[in-house]
Symmetry: D2
Subunit: 265 residues, 4 copies
C-alpha cells in the first residue's frame, strides 16, 4: 500500500488518472441568463436549514445557460478539448445565512463527467442533461454579442425537454443580473453507507477566486418555457413575472471555498 | 426553510427530483469477465492504507463489462428505460483488511448520471465511458449464452479506446471468476472545500443484499487488449498471464453496507 | 484513377472504409409494436403517387420499436458491438400499388450512422433519434418474454420526447400484428443538385430474404402517447382506437429488393 | 394520395417534418486546417473515373475541422440550436476533370443527422464521428484568433481516436490553405436496389453561393497524428511533409450545384 495521489476519484500512486486535477480550475465561457419571480413560498420549500429566505425579493430565480471551456493548472485539457468543453443549465436562487445574502444553485444539469464530479465537491446538485445555446460568431446567420443579437437556449434530460428561452440583446447593462451575484451557499452531503442519515453534511461558501468579464448585455425575453417531467421539479417554480434577460462572456478561476457549518446536525 | 427529502442530490421538500431513490436498488444484467495476472507490485501501488495485498494470488485482476437495467423500489424506471439502462466496465482486484480478503474496484467507467452518483455513495471511482458488449439473443447473428457463443466487449473514454476483449464460451463453470467474489472494500472520500486534505475519508464494506444468478460459463479469451491514454492508468496493469474468461446473467439487490473505518486518519 | 470499391459512401480502391458492406445484411433483435387506427384521410395525405390507400382497414398504423444487432457477411461487427448495435422506432402504414397491398415506413428514427445510410438505400426516411426499450432478461427486475412481462418504450429527437408506450404481454398470438406484414413499398429519392426536382425518383419493393421468429405475444397497451414537436408530424396521426400491442424476437436477413417503378415521372 | 412536399426524406403533404429545408443553406463557423503532402499514388488510388490527379502538387491533402451553426431560409434552427450546431472533420484532396482543378472531399465525419443527409445530396461520403475543436473566446484560458492562439482538434469514430492536431497561430495569411480552394467535384451514388451496380451515378460540381470570411491565420503545426482503425482509411494517407496550419472564421451560403456528368457509365 502506498500514499495515494489524486484530488478526487480515482486515486492512485501517481494520481495521473484522477478525473479532476487539484484546484485552481480555470473557466472561459458565455452565460445566458433569464431572471424571473416565482412565489417565495416555493423557494422557502427548497431551502434546507440553516438557510432562510433572502430578505429582499426572495422569490427571484435565475435560470442560467453556460457554454464552458475549463481546465486545471496545466491547461492541457484546452488542447484535447473533449476534456475541456462542457455546457450546463442551472437554476439559482438567493437565501440568507447569519444575516448575509448568498446565491444558491438548486438544480443543475451538465454534460460531462468532470463537471459532475466537480459538482460533488462544490455542493452543486448535478445531473446530466443535454444543453444547447446559440453561439455568437462574427458572421451571419450567427448573432453577435451586440444589440439585436438573438440567442436561443434549451435544456433536456432523460429525453424530455425541460426548459427553453429566446432572448434578444437590447444594449449594455451594468450587471449580468442580480440573483447569481453573491457567494454560493451550498450543502455538501454524503449519505451514510448504512442508509441512516448522512455521513457528511456541511454548509460551505465559495466564490470565484479571479474574474474577468466582458460587457454585460440586457436582453428582452422573447420566449421562456419550463416543461413538466416526472424526474424534475424545475417547472414547479412557475414564473409569475419575467425580470429580464442577460448575456455576458466571462473568464473565471475557482480555487476552493470555506466551511460555514462543518457539521450540520 | 423546510425538512429536505431526497436520498442524494438534489434534495427538495418532496424529494421527487432526487437523482437517486433511497436503496434498495435492483439490478438485472449480464457480466462479461476477463481475469488475468499482473505484477503484484502494481496492485500494491494502487491500494491505499489501511488495505494491503491479498494473501493469495495478489496480482489477479478482473476486467468486467456489465450491461444493466436497474431501478429503485417503485421499479418505475424499468418502464421509462432511459432511466434504467446503463453499461459499465470496471477493473477489480483483491486486497486484505484485518486479515480478511476483499474485492475492490480500482477503475470504473459508466454511461449514465445515476450510475455515477451511486458510485459516489458506494465508493466506486466512476468516470464516464462508452461501453459496448455483444448481447445474447435467440437468433443469429447474435450469440447465445451457451457453449460456442462468441462475445465482444469494448471500452472507450474521452474518444479513445481503452480496452477490448473477445471471448468464446466453452461450457458451464462452477464460478464466475474469483477476483470479484468477495465483499467490496471501498474508500469514500470528499475533499475538503478549502483544499486541505479530505473532509471525509472512510473505508466501507458492501455486498449484494440478494442475488440470483444463471449458470456461469467459462470462456476462452480470444482477444484482450488494453490501450494507453493520457487520462487513464488501466493499461499500466499489463497482463502477464490470462487466467480466463467468464459470462453470467444475474439479478442483484444492493441495500447499503457498513463502515469499516469511519474516519481514516 | 482506379476502379472504386465499396457498396456505398465512402468508396476507395479497397472499399475497406465503406460505411456499409454489400448486402446481405443480418439482423437479430426484438420488436415492440403498438397498432392503432387513425383517420384514413391522414394516411392518404402521406402516400405519394403512385400509391393509394389500402383496400382494407386503411387507417391502421403500427408504431414499432426495435433493438437490433446487425452485420454484414463477415459478421465482424458482432464482436466490435459499437458497430453492430442500434435501436430504432418507426411508423408503418399499409398502401396499395397495382392491386397489391404493401407496408410502408412513413417515419423512422435510428441511432447509428450505418443504419441511417442503409435507410437511404432502402428508401426509409431516417432521422436520428434516442430510442429506448425495456429489455427482457432472465432475472428481476427485468421482464421476460412471457405472459405478464411489462415493457416500456420511448422515442425522442432533437431533445424532445415524441412517443412512449407501456405494454403488458397477455399470451401467445398468431401474428406480430398485421400492419408491418407485407413487402415494403418505398420511394428512393435523390433531389437534383441544381434544386429542380429529383435526379432520381424510384418506387421499390423489398422484403426479408430469410426470417426466423420466436413466439409472438399479444399485449395490452397500458399507456400510449404521441407528443407534438416543431420538427415532426408523427403526432398528427392521432389514435382513434388502439388495436393492440405485440412483442416478438426475430432474426432476419435483408438482401436487396426490386424496382417497381424505376423512374417516377 | 397527394402531392408530396419536403426537400428530402421524409416527404409529406406539408413537408414540415423533412429533415432538410430546401437550399439555400446558411452556415457560420470556424475552420482549423492542417495541410500536408502524401504519396500522390495514394491519392490516385482514391480518385474514381473520370477524375485524374491534379496537375500541380497532386499529393497535397487538407484535414479540416469545422465547428458550424447552420440553418435554412427561415433561420429558425438558430434559436433551437440543437438543430443548428454540428461539428465535422474532413479530408480534402485536389483532382482534375476536363483540364480544370477541383477540390474533393474523400472522407468526412459529422455529428448530426441533418449534416449527414445534406452530405448524401452533395456527394460527401459522410459517417458519424466525435469531433472536438478548441474554441476561441475573449478570456483565458481560451485562445483568441490572434498570433499565439493555440488550438487543439480531435476526431474519433466508433470509439476510436482517428486524428488529432495542435496548431499555434503565427500571424495573418493571404489564404486559408490551397487544397480546399476550388469548386468541389463529387460523385453522387445510389446503389441499385437489386445489388447490381448503381441506380444513380453522377459527377457534380458545387461551390458556396456567397462567402464572407475573417482574416485567415497561418499556424505552426505543433502536433499532428493519424491513427489506424479497422473501419477507416484516413491513416493510409501518411504525411510525408507538413505544409502548414490555418485558422479562419467564415460565413457561407450553399445553394446547389450543377451536374458535370449526369450519368457516369
Amino acid at each position: 500500500m502506498t500514499q495515494q495521489k489524486g484530488f478526487f476519484y480515482p486515486r492512485s500512486a501517481t494520481g495521473s488518472s484522477s478525473l479532476l486535477p487539484s484546484p485552481p480550475w480555470y473557466y472561459a465561457g458565455d452565460l445566458l441568463t433569464v431572471e424571473y419571480r416565482t412565489d417565495p413560498k416555493l423557494i422557502a420549500d427548497i431551502l434546507p436549514a440553516p438557510l432562510t429566505l433572502a430578505a429582499e425579493d426572495p422569490g427571484a430565480v435565475a435560470l442560467i445557460w453556460a457554454d464552458w471551456q475549463s481546465c486545471g493548472g496545466s491547461h492541457e485539457e484546452m488542447l484535447d478539448p473533449v476534456r475541456a468543453q462542457y455546457k450546463e443549465a442551472f437554476a439559482v436562487v438567493r437565501c440568507s445565512f447569519e444575516g448575509r445574502t448568498y446565491s444558491r444553485c438548486i438544480y443543475i444539469w451538465v454534460d460531462k463527467d468532470f463537471a459532475m464530479l466537480r459538482g460533488i465537491h462544490q455542493g452543486y446538485p448535478k445531473k446530466f442533461g443535454s444543453v444547447h445555446m446559440t453561439r455568437p460568431h462574427p458572421f451571419a446567420p450567427a448573432p453577435q454579442v451586440a444589440a439585436g443579437g438573438k440567442f436561443g437556449a434549451t435544456l433536456a434530460a432523460a429525453d424530455r425537454r425541460l426548459a427553453e428561452a429566446v432572448i434578444t440583446l437590447k444594449g449594455p447593462s451594468e450587471k449580468n443580473g442580480f440573483v447569481n451575484g453573491h457567494p454560493m451557499a451550498h450543502h455538501r452531503w454524503l449519505p451514510a453507507i448504512d442508509g441512516k442519515g448522512d455521513a457528511h453534511a456541511e454548509l460551505i461558501e465559495s466564490s470565484g477566486a479571479k474574474f474577468e468579464g466582458g460587457q454585460p448585455f440586457a436582453a428582452s425575453v422573447d420566449h421562456f418555457a419550463l416543461f413538466d417531467s416526472p424526474t424534475e421539479e424545475l417547472s414547479h417554480l412557475k414564473p409569475k413575472e419575467i425580470i429580464g434577460g442577460y448575456y455576458r462572456q466571462i473568464g473565471v478561476v475557482w480555487n476552493g471555498g470555506k466551511s460555514l457549518v462543518p457539521e450540520i446536525k
